[in-house]
Subunit: 468 residues, 2 copies
């Protein structure tokens, strides 16, 4: 996001110098222009997800470590913000992952026993990400979890909803890399790797770090043919032909054939829904969370080096909290979506406020009344009443209107002016805009009746950028 | 909020027993029904505030203690969640107050140099509140800050906006207690109290703990007349007559007359805006944050023992971060607003989902298509395709529709059914509702064309409760 953080700095060098030591690494202040876009994105996404019958749940920002730990793998626990609860002496952790928290909540029965459950969330997760990665450590996410459906229609629903979400926010070009963790894990298990070596091999495969993967397989003395199959699977990506080739690697092994069959069904159903061009079958797809145990996927977009989000099936995660329930879901990283969407910055000089209503101090009450009537038409309106002579008022009004990026200045209570009459000054291009054009702006003034202004304000549809 | 926490439990005793040890004290899981109402409240409030030209800013969840400390008083710092930053070894704290954070951000120049600034936020603040208080420790707030305006029009704007916010969310009955910290602080200063004794006396006065206040004044050997004035001021509340009585106490002391004059101006301007009936002048009004140094206010509503929110003027807070800027603002506590509004609970059996589209497995694609067309009309739609015989399908459809609180079940792909034809089953009152009425529900079925259904869905306005 266009946030002010130690990684993504505002333009003034002085501010960023100060900030480096004032704000913790990876934490961001999201300024008004970007915040508005973030909230707009959130609301588009949640409303799309809502149409699929998913209900938002709001989860606590921190939890007891011992309670949430069964849902978090060791590597993730190491990157958590942990601290001691003064009340109980137990260790607390800032939520590092929302899915584990939803799983904990569902297992506790808090959302009731009815199945399936469709839940969504918008939240931050907190992790010590490596500083050089340039990522935030307070990661804004929106996600959805579909709980209690085991069959392929569950995966289909979640992926379809994901595609519709990305389309709803106007992301023009994206690819969904789709795989099944069961296939490559099965190949590794078949190769005789020890659980420890397998874990390391999975991590290397997840990062597509082939040299490291080779090393691990060599150290573990995996047979040549088995090692070759693992390496090949890690890089096996494309369309339908991927499944054919994988079937050759899997032949005669039910442990490998079952995941492939499932992936094939899901792929076919998504293709027949018209999503073939968005999909990339990727048998090396892993996600990086240990709890995924079925079909998994990541979203990629041109120009963003990391995934925008992803998800998959976690049929045994909720069970770790005491209630076995097959489930699947996805999460989107708002920060990365924001980058992928290439939102405009705040220097385009566009209108932020519809009206600045301004008048002399003695007319303060009239200023309030006029502003209030304009707001009732859902316009964004600021108001001001001023000490000092009337001569300076118009001058001041123009300067203030430009500084606030008001579309129109409304002058009320001027000498000789009727209560039912106002003076409009417009257009008030921002100074940035004027400078860019090399033209001096030339606002003009006109008198109209208050009634006419109010009528125009409630019927006109020109949106001020800050409208909420 | 109707949240599941150790303080506010869901109805099942078993769940709440589990929860007591599973969720940290004061932390809440806000379940779908309540979450929807919270988000709706948030959006009403932010949209009202937005119409006044306030822009939302999103602040980091934690900060360096040493950076934020100048804006937090000692008592508040003692109730903060603090922990050590692994990266720097410096102490971090979870945001205990949003105003101090906004002040820090403005002082750093992050939002630019233009004045005035109008900023809003929706956020959580975190504090170790006493367990017996029954309050949450993750406190949801919405607030607004008006920065850079010194005169009474700033206070007037913030209070008017507060009133409009409370009216916008449908709060029928509320009172705003309005005071000025300068008056009672001035009385205390005049009485010769030491700074330490004064601080303790202020705390006692803020809690309206008169016996404790008496004790402090007696220990400090404050002269009788001065002590009497302080006691009287602490309880001086009412309408205009309060100002007249206070003027008697203040006579000849500019230190006391100035705050009274300012409060009087503000009160008059609010009365002439028609708010007299909402206001209670309260010279003992304090807020409990040390940074307030002018007019202050709290909102109260019948049936809620503590204030719903409040605010006031803090002309020197931003200065503590290096940039002197007169400012004023307010914050509302979402949890308490929620209680004051008496939202309905989730047992009213109302419709949550507009349509459940259901069909046999072989018609899975048709199920998706029909559901998708209904969603395009902004309806909430769930979908399901089922294995098994067609006989069981209708039975299952009704049970599933009731469990999901669907308004209508749409059956597609049944034997002998045309692709362009669907079977509707409605009404599907929830079982709770039926039981309450002592009537068995009796859904009926009818066949209509898909085109007619889609047309009805896009034009009908019956809202499903979960609609976002």
């Amino acid at each position: 996001m266009a946030s002010a953080s130690s990684k993504s700095r505002p333009s003034s060098a002085q501010v960023s110098f100060q900030e480096r030591s004032l704000i913790p690494v990876g934490m961001a202040t999201i300024l008004p222009h970007a915040a508005k876009q973030v909230r707009h994105l959130e609301s588009l996404l949640l409303s799309q997800i809502g149409r699929w019958g998913y209900d938002e749940i709001i989860l606590p920002t921190f939890e007891y470590l011992d309670v949430l730990a069964p849902g978090l793998e060791a590597e993730l626990l190491e990157t958590c913000y942990q601290f001691v609860d003064r009340t109980t002496g137990r260790t607390l952790l800032l939520r590092p992952d929302a899915t584990a928290q939803v799983a904990r909540t569902v297992a506790m029965g808090l959302v009731g026993q009815t199945l399936p459950q469709r839940l969504s969330y918008r939240t931050s997760v907190f992790r010590y990400e490596p500083e050089h990665a340039g990522r935030g450590r307070e990661i804004f996410q929106i996600g959805a979890e579909f709980i209690g459906v085991e069959d392929v229609s569950g995966d289909h629903e979640v992926l379809t909803m994901l595609v519709e979400c990305l389309q709803a926010i106007g992301l023009r070009s994206f690819t969904i890399a789709l795989g099944h963790v069961g296939f490559i894990k099965g190949l590794m298990r078949r190769s005789g790797l020890s659980p420890q070596s397998q874990k390391r091999a999975e991590q290397a495969a997840a990062r597509k770090d082939l040299p490291r993967l080779e090393e691990i397989l060599a150290e573990a003395r995996v047979a040549k043919a088995a090692a070759r199959a693992i390496r090949e699977a890690t890089e096996l990506a494309g369309r339908e032909e991927v499944l054919a080739r994988a079937k050759v690697l899997a032949v005669g092994e039910p442990l490998l054939e079952a995941p492939l069959e499932r992936l094939s069904q899901l792929y076919q159903s998504l293709c027949s829904a018209g999503y073939e061009d968005l999909l990339l079958l990727d048998l090396g797809e892993f996600r990086g969370f240990d709890y995924y145990d079925g079909a998994v996927f990541d979203v990629f977009a041109p120009g963003v080096g990391t995934e925008l989000g992803g998800g998959g099936r976690y049929d045994h995660l909720i069970g770790r909290f005491g209630r076995e329930l097959p489930s699947t879901g996805f999460a989107l990283d708002m920060d990365r979506l924001f980058h992928a969407l290439n939102f405009s910055d705040d220097t385009d000089g566009s209108v932020r406020i519809d009206y600045l209503v301004i008048g002399p101090r003695r007319a303060a009450r009239l200023v309030s009344e006029v502003a209030s009537r304009l707001r009732r038409g859902h316009r964004r309106v600021t108001q001001e009443s001023l000490k000092g002579g009337d001569d300076a008022l118009i001058e001041h009004a123009i300067v203030a209107g430009q500084a606030q990026r008001a579309g129109t200045v409304v002058l009320v209570g001027m000498p000789g002016q009727d209560r039912e009459e106002v003076m409009l000054i417009e257009p008030l291009q921002s100074r940035v805009e004027s400078r860019r054009n090399g033209r001096a702006h030339r606002p003009t003034s006109k008198k109209i009746s208050l009634a006419a202004l109010v009528k125009a304000a409630s019927s006109s549809c020109r949106p001020a950028k800050g409208r909420s």
